[in-house]
Symmetry: C3
Subunit: 344 residues, 3 copies
């Protein structure tokens, strides 16, 4: 795709300072941009890179423009400008609305208009694929599941039975929605482990994106629910019956146990763990690798764990950690002695 | 499925108090049950919900019955009652024992009676599929692997070669059993990394359930072994040559390294990490997100990590954590000074 | 495969002490080896096992030979000997270089010499499969992706578009390379979450092994890059635009966020977390389950977290942890009082 800086300025109504005939054939970071690539300054703290960048031009805030020797496009929100401009160079393939002959589709499935279905995909009876949906090769759609209008499943996604995905959803490869929740009962008489039937399904709202390898279990006594506009990164695990509000973002490898309620507009850091049967209110932020072992009823930012240390010093600190109860006692004793000795 | 409370009481020999003609079309939690859904009180601490529930009826312990305004079914173990009653409303599809024409099955594979094989499944030579097994669409069964009688693989499960699964197993989608263990040797002469052949397989006992996206590696010097009745949640990782006893439950996203021995009847919390080459005895419980960095030779409950805090206070605590060795020293100094000053 | 000890000694130029006619039909650990299996002593601290092992023979260092009652093969590096000898007993199937009729291959894909493609695999247009590559059943190769010479994809691997894998790569089942990075922008005007196009791809070096269920995202402003000879275990997550040097080993379930730079020859322990936009230099070792929340600019060994404790004592310690800031203050007060009281 060959464009000039002027084309882009015009298309997105951005003020251009510099040669509008400059050729632009892609985007890149300030450090790595070639002389035909457009770059971006998102954060003033990287301003020094403007001096060395070889980018064809830089998209930046008006107040940062003077610091740049290269041509610039002025944008009040360079990140939003990236969203728009990057789309021009996106090579993401858009399949034609055709059904591959090797796909296996039940006669009792409902396939909407302009649906694309890839090679070897399987669609079971009672499933409904709404208009404009795209189903990648090797996907498995279980009985009575629903894929909303314009949603896209990348290859090798599995939906079990009774899994509904709202309009505009994006599900990445290897994701598994609707597997049985981890529900077992120990029979105290026989000592056996008995499986609890997971009779409910999964309900995903509109415009939800779900990352590669993420797993969302079906429920036992209620549906597992993910609200509109939620974004889940790769390898996230959502337990059975858990309910998540709207527009909550969950970073990669976070494990969320069952029957937990998480509010809207939360930001959950990567590799975190959230136990079962707790409640987290709206607008809660969890930092990376935090264990949430109790309900969070007040919005704010929460953490657990310890900081990074050299292994040598860390070994000493974990000894101290194991003595913290003793440390508090000894401290108290010293304080009492002092009091009594000074007679205060 | 339309039933009355009387039907259910009779079928499961539960005493019914209230109108036996009450229609029951499903089950649900006390908070969410509609007037035609049966609910359950598992734990007396939720007794207050009995006042507000709209459930058609509630299954509960005799001693809790008086607190309930709705019709009740008396059960000494409501969870066991759920297991039985929920099955009536389970919509889990049971495929007919047919082999889909698009499945690719080696002439040298052994297929038992009443086996169901889904579309596009591949079964390599020397594999044995025992009677009544169900293989979902897109599953891959490697050479000389064995799927026990009545076992079920959900779609897109991968078994490498020489992976044996006992009778009554349930393996969820995206699980991968028998991939190479993480075994490499640094050649000190050349400085190269050399791959150690992983020549052993995987042996899974009877009635084992394995969650979606869980990975169990094959062994280098012995089989990786999972004992009878073990239940593994989603996205669990089991390293090469690790051996796990009977009826141990492992929650989601737990990472277990190689050559470790874990006993029977253990409960391992979610997102935990267990290092390689250690031993954990029977009846050990590990709380969520714990790092097990040494052998556990005494049964009991173990933990690591820190509690949840506001990010602001947490930042202060991790500073203190890094000074714990110093704190102990300063404490000792104060105590010695006191001793000498008081001459004691 | 029936061999004698003499055959093996001769083949690998190892000195044999004992009956060269001893039959060897496999390898096993010292504890589990049968009388026809060869075993290994890698570490002198396991020397005591030499007394009880029933192995046909033991491969060990010359200095350990006298301690062994069984026949021995002398090797200065028994682990290297294992690499060579184990290969004799490896049952890993090597598919013939044939293309299964059910594979779906674009006319515009380039397929090299002696390539094996399994049942139901899909290869999109513009993809290039180099000589001797092996593609397992159910694999998905996206547009313009490249699989290097002699590389092997095990069944059900997914490569999105523009994902390049160097020569000699090994990718295990369920791995997903090239899914969209987790890039979203909150539109402060509308309050909506906007997806940032992930227009770059993934570049994997030569001789890289990637474990089952591992996910490596594509980049937004630069390619995600994994250097030559890197080895990634199962269920590792690599965020968008992250760059990793040569011969770095990453153990299972480690989560690495986006735009982070990791050096060469690093060892990253299992279940660790590394945040985004930081830098880690060469020769850094991270112990298991460590959170790397800042750049590491000095080579060495690093850790975070706490040690394993009984849950009872741990509960006391986490109380102390939450008071660490207060503990430091109280300690300081005692020290100041002492100073003033002693007039020093």
């Amino acid at each position: 795709m060959n464009l000039t800086l002027g084309d882009i300025a015009e298309r997105f109504h951005l003020e251009c300072r510099g040669d509008t005939d400059t050729a632009v054939n892609g985007i890149a970071s300030l450090q790595e941009a070639d002389s035909d690539q457009l770059s971006f300054l998102f954060n003033a703290s990287y301003k020094h890179l403007l001096e060395t960048t070889e980018a064809a031009a830089v998209v930046l805030r008006p107040e940062d423009a003077t610091a740049c020797k290269r041509p610039v496009l002025l944008a009040n929100n360079p990140r939003r400008a990236q969203v728009a401009i990057a789309a021009l160079f996106d090579t993401l393939p858009m399949p034609l609305p055709v059904i591959h002959p090797s796909a296996v589709i039940s006669d009792n499935a409902e396939i909407g208009q302009r649906v694309a279905i890839g090679a070897g995909a399987v669609i079971e009876r009672g499933a409904r694929i709404e208009a404009g949906a795209i189903i990648g090769a090797g996907c498995q759609i279980g009985e009575a599941s629903v894929l909303g209008a314009g949603s896209r499943l990348f290859p090798n996604v599995v939906l079990y039975h009774d899994v509904w995905i709202g309009a505009g959803g994006i599900i990445h490869s290897g994701a598994v929605l609707g597997a049985d929740g981890f529900g077992f009962e120990l029979d105290l008489d026989s000592g056996d482990i008995v499986k609890i039937p997971q009779v409910y399904g999964v309900r995903i709202g509109k415009h939800v994106e779900i990352g590669a390898g993420t797993t969302i279990d079906r429920g036992a006594l209620n549906h597992t629910i993910i609200g509109d506009n939620c974004k889940l990164d790769n390898q996230v695990q959502i337990g059975h019956g858990t309910v998540i509000g709207k527009q909550t973002l969950i970073s990669g490898c976070t494990a969320i146990a069952g029957s937990t309620k998480i509010g809207s507009h939360c930001l959950i850091g990567g590799a975190s763990g959230i136990i079962d049967n707790i409640k987290i209110v709206d607008h809660v932020e969890i930092t990376a690798m935090t264990l949430v072992s109790q309900s969070i009823l007040k919005k704010g930012r929460y953490s657990s764990g310890t900081g990074l240390m050299s292994a040598k010093n860390w070994k000493r600190s974990i000894v101290g950690f194991s003595k913290l109860d003793e440390i508090l006692k000894r401290l108290r004793r010293l304080e009492t002695d002092k009091k009594s000795s000074t007679g205060s």
